[in-house]
Each structure stands twice: as C-alpha cells, then as structure tokens.
C-alpha cells in the first residue's frame, strides 16, 4: 500500500476516534472541566489552610500581659529591680510581655493568686537575694507556676525575658562596681556596609522547585488520566460495541489502525496537558499576588519561562508514552470494564514513577530515560536552574526514550488488537474468584503481576516498620518478599520445578554454568559500579550513605559470616526465587519467542530495580536483573542466577572488609572510585568469560506444541 494511502487511513481512524471522544462527556470532563476547577480549588484550600496556620502562629507569637507575684523579705527590693530593668531595656526583646504587673504579697496569698489565675508566676525571694545580685555569685531563682492554672509557653518566655532583663541590669551594676567600661563584655561590634540592604523576606530558592515537584507529579498523573477514557473507548469500547471488527476488515493494517487510534488518544492527552498547564499558570499568577512584598520566590521570570517551555516539550513525550501505555493495556482487554480494571494499576504505576523523581538522588542522564520519572525530574531541574546545556541534553534523551518506549508499546498494541482469543472468545469457565484453580505448569501473567504488587506493598510496610539493626531488618524485608509468594504458590498449585527452575543446568556440565554465574555476578558489580561512576560521579545521597554505614557497622562489629549471610546469601536465595523464579516464569510463559523473552527479561529487571527503593542503586540492580534474567531463561535453571547474585553481593563486602579507612563505605554503596583500573579490566574479563560459559550451557529450544494455532 502506498504511503499516501496509509497516511490517509491513519488520519481517517484518528478523525473518527476524535469525533467519538469529543462527543463523550467523560472525556470532556477529565480533559477540560477537571483541570479548570481542580487547581483553583486546591490553591484556595491550601491558601486558606496556610492563612489559618499563619493566623494561629501569629496569635501564639503575640505578646501577652504578665502578672508576677513576689514574696519573701527581698520582694519589694526585687520589684524595684524589675522596674529599673524594664526601664533600662533599650529595645524590648521579642518575648517581652505586652504589659507587666508585679505584686508583692506573702507566700500563702501568692499561691492563691497563681491558683486562681490572677498571677501567672510567683518568685520567692529570701533575704540577701538583691544583695547577692550585686555580688559575684550566680543567684538561684525559682519561678513557681500553678498546677491548677498551668501557664502557657508564651508567658513562660515572658518570665524568662523579665528575669534576663534583671540579670542584664545586675551585670551592668557589677561592671560599674569593678570600675570597668561596659565594652569589656562586648569585644566585637559588627555592621554591614557596601551592598544594598537585603529584603526582609525569606528566600524560597531551592524550596520552590521541591514544592513545585508535587504539582509536576499531579500534572504527569492528570496527563496520563487524559488518555485513560479515550484508550478504553478506542479499543475495549469498540470490542464491546462490535465495531472493532469493522475496522479490522477495512483495507488497513493493524499497525495503521493502532497508529490512528494512538494519534487520537495522544491529541486528547496533549489537550489535557495544555489545559492543566494553563490552569496551573493562571492559578500561580493569582497566588503570586498574595505573596507579601519583599518575599523572594527564588525563581525569576526568565527561568520560570524556560522551565515552562522545557516542561511542556518533555511532557509531550510523557503524553505519548501515557497514550501508548493505555492503548497497549486496553488492547489486551475484552471489554470496557476489563480495560478499566487493568488500567487502574497502570495509573498507580504512573503515580509511583512520577513521584519517584522527587526522591533524593534522582535526576541525571540515566534517569532521563525513565518514562514519567524522567520528565518530572527534568522539569524540576529546569525550575532549580540547572545549566541550559545539561537540560538540552536531558531533554533530547528524554524525548528519544519516549519515542522508543511509545513505538514498542504500539507494536505490542498492534499484536494484541487482532489477537483472535481476545477478539472473539469469552472466558472458558466461570467460578468463584476464590475457587482454587487446577494445577498448572507456570503462573499466569496476572498471577505474577498480583504477587509483585502484594510483595511491593508488604516490602514497603516492612521497610517503614523495620528496626535499625540489620540483623533483624534484613530477614523481615526478605520475609515480606517471600511470604506472599509462598501463600500464593500454595493456593495456585503451580509446578515448583517448572516455575522456580529447580533443576541443574546443562546436565553434567552444570559446574560450567555455576562458574559462569559466579564470574558474571562478581565481575558485573565492579564493571557497573565503574560505569555508574563515570556517568554520574561520586555523589551519594544521605540515604545511600546511611545504608552503607549500617552495612559496614554490621560487617565490622559482628562475625563476618553473619554479615555475609544477611547481605549476600539470604537475598540471593529469596530474591531469585521471587524475581527470576515466579515473576520471570509468569511473564515468559512456556517457551517464549525471542522478542517476548527479551521484553520479559527487561521487564522483570525493571521491577527488580524498583523493589530496591533507592534510586541511585537502580542502574546497578537493573543491570544485574537483566543478566540474571537472561541466564535463567538461557539455562532453564535458577542455580546460575542464585550463584551470580551471591557473588555480586559478596564482592563489595570482601573489598570493604579489606579496604582502606573511609573507602569501605563508598564501596558498599556501589562507588568504585577508589578501585584500580586493573581491577575493573579484570572484572570485565571475568564477566565476559562467565557469559561465554553460560552461553555454552544454554538449553536446547523447546519444540513448539504440535497443535499450536495462531495467525499466519
């Protein structure tokens, strides 16, 4: 078919779908009305909240009247000292009361007065107190307050201010009595000269980009939501109405149909993005008018304009990925309801990825390729005033990554849209959702996804509640990962051997595969650490430094085998059973074809990296996940992956134990800056040799089922 005719078909599908979208009230609501109303409502609510909080703060900080009762033989003399001190204060300090009254009385009356709330504090002044003030000792004073009528914190500050004023007066008297000048206790006097006087307001520089991060995450989420209903309507809705068949029998390829639908959904997502951006800009313009004069936002107009431009361009890529994700997911659904159920976790994923850009340590070149997170990080960096050249490079990388991800997702959608099973076949059986399924060889993709979701939530809670001591924290985290898996495995009755690859690789040549796994794991740690160092530099976040310190403490303060068991052995077994066992088996299915195998290896590696929760360790864990996934699929056994994982986690422990003072922590955190170049070269060679050994142990490709059916 000619390009002109193909483009006409794409345009026709796009035009047809756009007509349907704009006539759908749900789409219009999500695209136009929600953003127009949401930001003003959010801004109004936050402004009101802020104003109330400021009023409360102001009320709490306002000076109050203070009444003090004095008793004892020196009460009258002390009252005079208070009067003199109050007069002698040049400028009243911030915590000075709005009015001060002093009453001299006997102790019984003083107690009654404070208990009745007429006086706020009571000072008992024995004979000689005032004389001692003029002497050389420190005079102990006790301000009594009532247990019946407790005095508030602000009045306690006033009492301190009054007593400090008396003390300053006493200091002046003592200096004068010694015949010394007043300057003896003021050795330095500082004044400012030269530049203009600084504004009275606090600077928001550095704070605004962080605060704006929340809005950027919301913008990413709403842009994705803009694609939500159109995507459901475009594929699953058409299947439900029976109109998808009419498109599939038109003389256009599935790729062209998907392209047309994608353009329509992308257009809606872009409109959602623009309306949201306009609403944010208008709301911000209104909010700026309420900022007090002299309050420095820390972002000038040119920088704000540049940031807005970069954000919009980067978010065009985000909108494309969102549209493609929604389209790919709904292509695999038979009905609108099924599509809605499947898209909900996707929106959760989008929120998680977008919000991950706000974590410390995120940003930089590798992060720019991550969909949703990369665009939010880029917009945040633009607002923070990162150099133009760096921003341009990251923007280019982000757009290129978005294009690649979008293209891959559209390919998947084009395959799924014409899938005969999804087009024409309903469920094969019906039953209770809690009915125990028949035994099967491997978990389904849905089972893999569900367990990953449960384990992630469980790991999150375990992490939040974890104790400081790694001896307890590591087992609890690994248990959080493995226990949901054990429960689901027992319920679902999948084959243990098939799912978890519980077999020796390559028959009698299994030692070769085991050696290959060990070499790859050990070498990969050093190689990826060196590569990450070259790309990202040596900066480590506080969280990474803290974790490294805890690991190092464990290594140095406990027996070596305990640290090795907790950091290397237990994670190697538990995480491999989970990621390369359950998750990989669920995603790959039986004998996956080459493209699917590549996709699932990368997918499980991404999940593996995300589970490590620390963004700066993600490149290392992602690379390890890819290698482990590949070797498991290639050999059909989990053993090489377990050994590789074990070696990978053992290397930094061994190096750190014998490293020079101060270098150990950096090594544990994955910073190879103090490793020699020769070690890196040796590690690269070990990795290559390991990969060759594993490649030699690949299992033969499984023959396809004799009755396999499918599109020709």
């Amino acid at each position: 078919m000619s390009d002109r005719r193909r483009w006409r078909a794409i345009r026709t599908v796009m035009h047809r779908d756009l007509l349907e979208f704009v006539r759908d009230q749900r789409t219009l609501f999500v695209t136009l009305l929600m953003p127009m109303a949401m930001y003003p409502v959010l801004a109004l609510a936050s402004t009101l909240g802020l104003r109330t909080a400021l009023s409360d703060l102001e009320a709490r900080q306002a000076p109050r009247p203070l009444a003090v009762a004095l008793s004892g033989p020196d009460a009258t003399a002390f009252a005079k000292r208070i009067e003199t001190a109050a007069r002698g204060e040049d400028g009243k300090p911030d915590n000075w009361p709005s009015g001060l009254s002093v009453k001299v009385c006997d102790p019984i009356a003083a107690q009654m007065l404070i208990d009745e709330g007429e006086m706020h504090a009571w000072l008992h002044l024995p004979a000689g107190t005032v004389a001692a003030l003029d002497g050389r000792e420190t005079v102990p004073l006790e301000a009594r307050t009532s247990a019946v009528q407790p005095v508030d914190a602000r009045r306690q500050e006033h009492i301190v201010a009054v007593v400090q004023a008396v003390a300053r007066d006493a200091r002046r008297r003592r200096i004068a009595a010694e015949g010394l000048p007043a300057s003896v206790f003021e050795p330095v006097s500082l004044t400012f000269a030269g530049g203009p006087k600084a504004g009275g307001g606090a600077s928001m520089d550095g704070v605004l980009p962080t605060a704006a991060g929340g809005v950027l995450v919301l913008l990413a989420l709403l842009t994705a939501t803009g694609a939500f209903y159109p995507a459901i309507d475009a594929i699953a809705g058409e299947k439900e109405r029976g109109t998808i068949e009419t498109l599939l029998i038109a003389p256009a390829s599935t790729g062209d149909i998907v392209a047309g639908k994608f353009l329509a959904i992308w257009a809606v997502a872009i409109v959602t993005l623009l309306v949201n951006a306009l609403s944010i800009a208008a709301t911000a313009a209104v909010l700026v008018r309420f900022i007090p004069a002299g309050f420095n936002l820390g972002v000038d107009a040119p920088r704000a304009a540049t940031a807005a431009g970069i954000t919009l361009v980067a978010f065009l890529g985000l909108a494309a990925v969102a549209a493609a994700v929604c389209l790919a997911v709904t292509s695999g659904s038979r009905s609108g309801k099924e599509a809605q159920n499947t898209l909900t976790p996707v929106i959760l994923l989008v929120s998680g990825l977008s919000a991950s850009a706000l974590l410390p340590g995120t940003g930089g070149t590798p992060f720019a390729v991550v969909p949703f997170a990369g665009q939010v990080a880029l917009a945040r960096d633009a607002l923070a005033g990162v150099a133009g050249g760096t921003l341009a490079a990251h923007l280019t990388i982000s757009l290129a990554a978005s294009a690649v991800v979008t293209w891959l997702l559209l390919r998947a959608a084009a395959t799924a849209i014409a899938d005969e099973e999804l087009l024409f076949r309903g469920p094969d059986s019906v039953g209770s959702p809690f009915a125990r399924p028949a035994p099967r060889r491997r978990p389904t993709a849905m089972q893999g996804f569900a367990v990953a979701l449960i384990a992630f939530a469980s790991l999150w809670y375990a992490q939040g509640l974890a104790v400081e001591d790694l001896v307890l924290a590591v087992p609890s985290q690994q248990a959080a990962l493995i226990l949901p898996l054990v429960a689901v495995r027992l319920w679902q009755r999948v084959d243990r051997r098939e799912t978890f690859g519980l077999r020796l690789p390559a028959g009698s040549r299994w030692p070769l595969a085991a050696g290959g796994g060990l070499l790859v794991g050990a070498g990969l740690f050093v190689v990826v650490a060196a590569a990450t160092l070259a790309l990202r530099g040596t900066h480590l976040s506080a969280a990474a430094r803290e974790l490294a310190q805890r690991i190092l403490d464990l290594l140095l303060s406990r027996p070596w085998w305990l640290g090795w068991l907790l950091i290397a052995v237990v994670p190697a077994i538990c995480e491999e059973l989970f990621f390369r066992g359950w998750l990989l088996a669920a995603a790959a299915g039986d004998a996956p074809e080459r493209r699917r195998a590549v996709a699932v290896v990368f997918l499980q590696a991404a999940v593996f990296a995300a589970f490590h929760l620390l963004p700066e360790r993600m490149p290392q864990t992602f690379a390890l996940g890819v290698a482990l996934g590949w070797m498991t699929l290639a050999t059909g056994s989990l053993l090489p992956a377990i050994l590789a994982h074990l070696a990978h986690n053992s290397v930094p422990l061994v190096l750190a134990r014998y490293a020079a003072e101060g270098h150990g922590k950096r090594l544990v955190a994955g910073d190879a800056s103090n490793l020699s170049g020769w070690l890196v070269v040796a590690a690269a060679a070990a990795t290559l040799v390991g990969l060759c050994l594993l490649a030699a142990c690949r299992r033969p490709t499984a023959p396809s089922a004799p009755d396999a059916v499918g599109r020709h």
Binding site: A9, T12, H15, R241, E245, I249, P251, F424, V709
Partner: protein, 245 residues
C-alpha cells in the same frame, strides 16, 4: 469469486482440549450467485465466514476472494469483500453519514466519490430520515441498515453476510433481502447465513448445510423445488444424518 478449499480452524481451550470449529470446509460462490450457508448454532458458520473476511487465520486450507488469498493478500481480500455479521456494530456517537464516509475513506475512495456514494446508499437503504442522528439513537433495523451500508460503501464484488436479518422485523428483513437480490443481479457473489430458512428458500441459488465444521449437503434451488418439505425438510434430514455419523 469466493472460494474456500479444505478450510480448517482449531482452537485450544484453557484446559488444553482441542476444539475443531471448522474441519475441512470447501465452497465456491460465483459472481451473480447467492449462496445460503445453513446450520445450527456452533457448527462453524461464523468461524468460516470470519476466515473468509480475514478476521481469523485458518489453521489449514486456503481461501480467496476475487483472486486474493486470505493469508498472503488480506488487504486485497478486504478491498473486494463486504462483510457483515450479527455482532458487527456501529459507533454510537457517529451519525450514519459519518460512518459511511469514514469507511469510504478507509477504502481509498476520493472525497467527491464519497459524497455521491454516501448519498446513494442513504437513499437506497432508507436512512434519509436519520442520516444526521447519532447511531446510538437509531432502532435495531436502522443500525443494521447502516452496517450494511458500511459493508457496501466501497461497492465490493463479493459479500459475506452472517445472519444479516438478525434482530430485524419482517418488513426490515424483507427489504434487506430484496436489496441483496439486487446485489446478486448486479453480478456480485453473495454468501449469506441465516436461521430463518423460509426467508431465503426462494432467494438463494444454492444452499450449503454445515454440521460439526463440515459441509454435509449441497442443494440447488431447483433440486429443492422437487423435494417434499422443501429446504426445511432437507436441512433437518441432513442434521439427523450428521448426528448419526
């Protein structure tokens, strides 16, 4: 014009059972001929027609429409075929005019030709009164006529119609079948399936009776004319023979 030779389609159920939906169907429909494909529910009529329309790919066998093979030239098949089934719908938020025009564009018609074609179809199918109303607001009969218009918009030489009268009242069904007869008389090859045997008994040139994925009997209208009980008797006799086998 429409030809199938040993068409086979197998599905596999979740429990691993092999389902032989179509098991070696061969048929031919010549230009200017209307052939009825008859059978009970679930015997393979729709699956056969979907393979002819390139919606399903055959497990074995070959099929072609107007010389284009369903496997090697599916786009060629789609250009030459008008397909309609009981499950094909129309977009709720588009008007009949918009539906017909968009499919005219997908079939590569020029903009000027599209306007003329839509106008003539709207008139021929009796859709003038609802041309600008959203399809979601139309009656079942009107929607079915829009579907038929969509299948005819590119003026195809072959038609595959799976229960086209389903959901239509007697008048609507009669009008639609009259239209199909006109299509046949214009030289188109028409393959039609229906459960209402009396509707097509005097309209089709030949009848194919399918059972358990196989064509068990083939009769011409002339052969049926001499048979006591007509098409209905032949149909039930064939089914009984199929069950015994």
């Amino acid at each position: 014009m429409i030809r199938a030779d040993g068409l086979v389609k197998h599905f596999r159920a979740a429990d691993g059972t092999l389902i032989k939906a179509v098991d070696g169907v061969s048929l031919t429909v010549h230009p200017g001929e209307m052939v009825g494909l008859l059978g009970a529910n679930g015997v393979g009529k729709t699956t056969t027609m979907r393979m002819l329309a390139t919606l399903l790919s055959p497990t074995a066998g070959t099929a072609s429409v107007g010389g284009s093979d369903v496997r090697t030239d599916p786009l060629g098949v789609r250009r030459r075929l008008g397909y309609l089934s009981a499950t094909t719908g129309v977009p709720d938020r588009l008007t009949p005019g918009e539906v017909l025009a968009s499919f005219g564009r997908l079939h590569g018609l020029e903009e000027t030709a599209i306007a003329d074609r839509v106008a003539s179809l709207v008139a021929a199918l009796g859709l003038a009164s609802c041309e600008h109303r959203p399809c979601g607001r139309l009656s079942t009969g009107q929607r079915q006529r829009v579907s038929l218009g969509r299948a005819l918009v590119h003026d195809p030489p072959a038609l595959v119609l799976d229960e086209p009268t389903s959901g239509l009242d007697a008048v609507g069904a009669r009008d639609l079948l009259d239209l199909l007869e006109r299509m046949r008389s214009e030289g188109r090859a028409v393959l039609v399936s229906t459960h209402r045997l009396h509707e097509i008994e005097r309209r089709c040139d030949r009848f194919l009776i399918i059972h358990s994925g196989r064509i068990l009997d083939e009769r011409s209208r002339d052969e049926l004319a001499g048979l006591t009980g007509g098409l209905e008797a032949a149909f039930f006799a064939t089914l009984a023979r199929g069950d015994d086998a």
